[in-house]
Amino acid sequence: MSDRLDLVLALADDELILGWRNSEWTGIAPFLEEDVAFSSIAQNEIGHARALYELAAREVGTDADALAFDRAPEEYRSAPLVELRRLEWARTIARHWLYETADAIRLEALKESDDSELAGIAAKIDREEVYHRIHAEMWIDRLLASDDARPRLDEALEELWPYALGVLDDNLRPELVRRVEEKLGRAMPDAEPVSRGQHEAELAELLEEMTMVRRSAPAGARW
């Protein structure tokens, strides 16, 4: 696998799996605005995944659906952070903000890439991600301002911190530490990153559910 393919699949898998996880809030978020927000964010992330899979598919001579749905669980390149399931609200917001902060750093780097195709897609994705970051930061500010919510958010951030570090490569990781510490106004603990390449048990369950229609109608489902 080329480095480029590996990079594109890591990005695509992160967006697809997180898009799926975000969509799990559709209908059951704490209030209607968040039903709408998480559903819309999920739709964006899956749109980004599609574009990236199409790019990868051209390199390996297949199609986007085959990459999204037909690989074995161990072939996915997603970061364990996006695989975690059914988080309660504080952990959902913690993951959302940690992921969007890491993703912003990654996209900024890609926009500067010599690979014009990848730089173009990254720039287009980033225009949409601005709104995800606004939403995530609004929630962080809201939870930090509440005596009841702040300890729960802090606990969630501590728990997910090693996972957040695992989203980025070594060279970009210090910038994540800097941005997170700046926003929270405190130092984060040193932690061993939970890196890409290992998977949470919940991933297999997610793939089972996500690929059900695909497996039951390999020639294409008709509605």
Binding site: E33, V36, A37, S39, S40, I41, Q43, N44, E45, I46, G47, H48, R50, A51, G120, I121, A123, K124, I125, R127, E128, V130, Y131, I134, H135, E137, M138
Partner: protein
């Protein structure tokens, strides 16, 4: 081929390109069927080579489910002109809401969607979305508030007008 023949081919191609642009201007955004895809600025270029009409097309939001439908409608419209279509989807930074034409912005407003603010103000921020002078498409008041950054489709936010007490959809600036 003589110079005269060349000129003739070029003028026929220019004629066909004009017809294609006019046909594409009849295709409405499936999700906001008051504005055409040309007014929306998503058709970047129409180019004719040999017998094929190449259309460069940039989606607004990448997860937009209307993308396939727009593509199919463009292909049908070009075939109806007796030409072979090739719609090329371009994914780069070249589309922004600034590409929506003035006529398109007015059509959005008339249909109750507040048109996007210009990008010149820079990358949108929460402060800007909460405090900016967003105008209600119903009564024209700027006494409006942000209800939700996200809305019924990726391209829209939800706002509320304190003056006429109506909710409205604000086209996001991207």
């Amino acid at each position: 081929m003589s110079a005269a023949d060349n000129a003739c081919v070029e003028s026929t191609q220019a004629g066909l390109a004009g017809e294609v642009w006019r046909a594409l201007a009849e295709i409405l955004d499936p999700e906001i069927p008051v504005i055409s895809i040309v007014d929306l600025g998503v058709v970047k270029d129409v180019r004719i080579e040999d017998e094929t009409v190449y259309v460069e097309f940039t989606p607004t939001f990448m997860g937009c489910p209307a993308l396939e439908s727009m593509k199919a409608q463009m292909e049908d419209a070009i075939r109806a002109l007796g030409a072979e279509p090739e719609v090329v989807v371009v994914l780069d930074d070249s589309w922004s809401t600034d590409r929506i034409s003035p006529a398109g912005r007015e059509k959005l407003r008339a249909a109750g969607f507040a048109p996007p603010a210009p990008r010149s103000a820079g990358t949108p921020t929460l402060i800007q979305l909460e405090c900016g002078p967003f105008r209600c498409p119903w009564c024209g008041s700027t006494d409006t508030r942000l209800d939700n950054v996200f809305g019924p489709t990726p391209c829209r936010s939800l706002r509320y007008c304190n003056a006429c007490r109506q909710p409205f959809e604000q086209f996001k600036t991207i």
